[in-house]
Amino acid sequence: MGPSIGLIFFFYFIPVILTFLIAFTNMGRTLRWEFIGLQNFARLFGIGARDPLVPKVLLNTLLYTAGALPVTIIGGLLVSILSMRMHPKAGLFFRTLFFVPRALPPVVWGFLWAWSFEGTRYGLFNAIRTALGLPIIHWFIRHPMLIVILANGFLGVSLAMLVFSSAIATIPKDYTRAAEIDGATEWQVVRYVIIPLLKWPILTMTAWHLMSFLNSYVYIMLITGGGPYYATEVWSLYAYHAAFNSYRYGYGASLISLLVIVNVVLLFVVVRAFGMRRMLTKGKIEL
């Protein structure tokens, strides 16, 4: 108990406070710093010397989250419903297949995507295209955001489909049977029986992944590095680059501070909507 509080205090609370403190400094490459008040934030919001990249990064973040979230939820529903309607062994096979992204190290998952969509004939999909006599496509130049969305969306699918599958497994057979006897088609059973019963899991997963996508940057960093020409640079990745690539720690920290505030607000909304009790009784684990 004691050590856990200590460690969490050390690596969670102090960092949050420190982030906010650094946000008000001009800490740079030399690690010397002084307080510069709100200059970083003024720059962010475009008052005075403005940062021309901020609107683009913000738009990217919204686009990316808005794209990856439906992929995760719809993909998760699709995989879980389809796999639960199959022969159990086949269902297990496909669930395992879609779970693999989460069991793979990020670097390997990133490598898989970077290589599959590589723009030369050495990339997997271009190699197939060449073998079929089709011209190669420069995937990363044509659709960088789409690739990033899919790569992250299907990471979300791994978790969402597990949660949805275990929820579907708890639905009593009587419900679907009764609907079938009343003459409902497969699609109607799914639409009017299964999906309404999955309301809570769907909501939890939406909230969870909303926050997860807003903050995620590691996979984007590994797959595109934010490029080409900032096409996939999202907020948190931009903050990372500001701090560790251009050594403007103060500016990076101010970007992160805003993100932390957004997180806390969102979290507050989620806790309000779901209720403390629910969170206590239904602790979910992330795999």
Binding site: M1, I8, I22
Partner: protein, 283 residues
């Protein structure tokens, strides 16, 4: 008529398979392509290799050239193991102690503490890297594997505590009462009675901490100097070079990815053995 209906039913049963095949086709292609690339040699016709062999696995016995220097796969693997084991041990010890306290001892702020753990998990550690960087710098643990492992471990502690609490919750109170009646102290109860009972739980929590540290890229990449390579940063730095040998990288990735995949299977078994999360678990 009858055969027509039978055929329709048969077709209806096939619908999920067909849809699923369409959804999973790109992924299957990627995975299969990955394996073919790792074990294939020489010129590649489409994605099919001309020859099978292990030449892509030459890093097992040859040093890896990277930049102007060179390193070996074994150094990186050793660092990865050191990093992951340190992190795993830290997570296990702390979670087992805290999980027991939260499961058995009534104290003020217990519920608050439990919710706090969940809330903390929602603010992901990866965005706090800048501050963690300075924290480690000032404490003098930056650029050292144990220090970074400690920081990495703290990210998995919140959920690890929930896991550990779940294991302890599954043990009936009677066990503890009778031990205490027989004169055990709290710590003795924890050490002599509970730990042996939750062995699968300990394994699960350890693997939990181990796995995430093994997978970790961003902490190692940012907080360790470029000269200390672990598997993830090694693969990334090879991927970032001008000339990329995909077969070689695929083979290296395979070596790196197989242990965690095997552990995941084990973790799932261990989670199934212990009553966790009242059946809602998704392990």
């Amino acid at each position: 008529m009858r055969t027509y209906r039978g055929l329709m039913r048969y077709l209806e049963g096939a619908v999920p398979y067909i849809l699923m095949a369409i959804v999973s086709a790109p992924f299957l292609t990627m995975y299969i392509g990955f394996f073919l690339r790792a074990f294939g040699e020489g010129a590649v016709l489409g994605i099919l290799p001309r020859k099978w062999g292990f030449s892509n696995f030459q890093f097992l016995w040859k040093p890896i050239a990277w930049g102007l220097g060179q390193t070996t796969m074994w150094t990186a693997l050793g660092n990865t193991i050191l990093f992951a084991v340190t992190s795993g041990i830290v997570v296990t010890v702390i979670c087992m102690l805290a999980g027991y306290a939260l499961s058995r001892v009534e104290f003020r702020g217990r519920n608050f503490y439990l919710v706090l753990q969940l809330v903390l998990h929602a603010v992901p550690g990866q965005i706090l890297l800048i501050a963690v960087f300075f924290l480690l710098l000032y404490v003098g643990l930056l650029h050292r594997i144990p220090g970074v492992a400690l920081a990495r471990a703290s990210l998995e502690i919140p959920l690890g505590i929930w896991m550990a609490k779940g294991f302890f919750d599954g043990i009936p109170w009677d066990v503890e009462r009778s031990a205490m009646v027989d004169g055990c102290t709290r710590f003795q109860v924890w050490y002599k009675i509970f730990l042996p009972l939750v062995k699968p739980g300990i394994a699960a929590v350890f693997i939990w901490g181990f796995l995430f540290a093994w997978h970790d890229f961003i902490y190692v990449y940012t907080l360790l100097p470029g000269t200390i390579k672990v598997m993830s940063t090694l693969i990334q730095s090879l991927l970032a070079t001008e000339v990329i040998d995909y077969g070689y990288l695929a083979a290296l990735s395979l070596i790196y990815a197989v242990p965690p995949l095997a552990l995941f299977v084990f973790l799932q078994r261990a989670l199934l053995k212990v009553p966790v999360f009242g059946g809602k678990g998704i392990g």
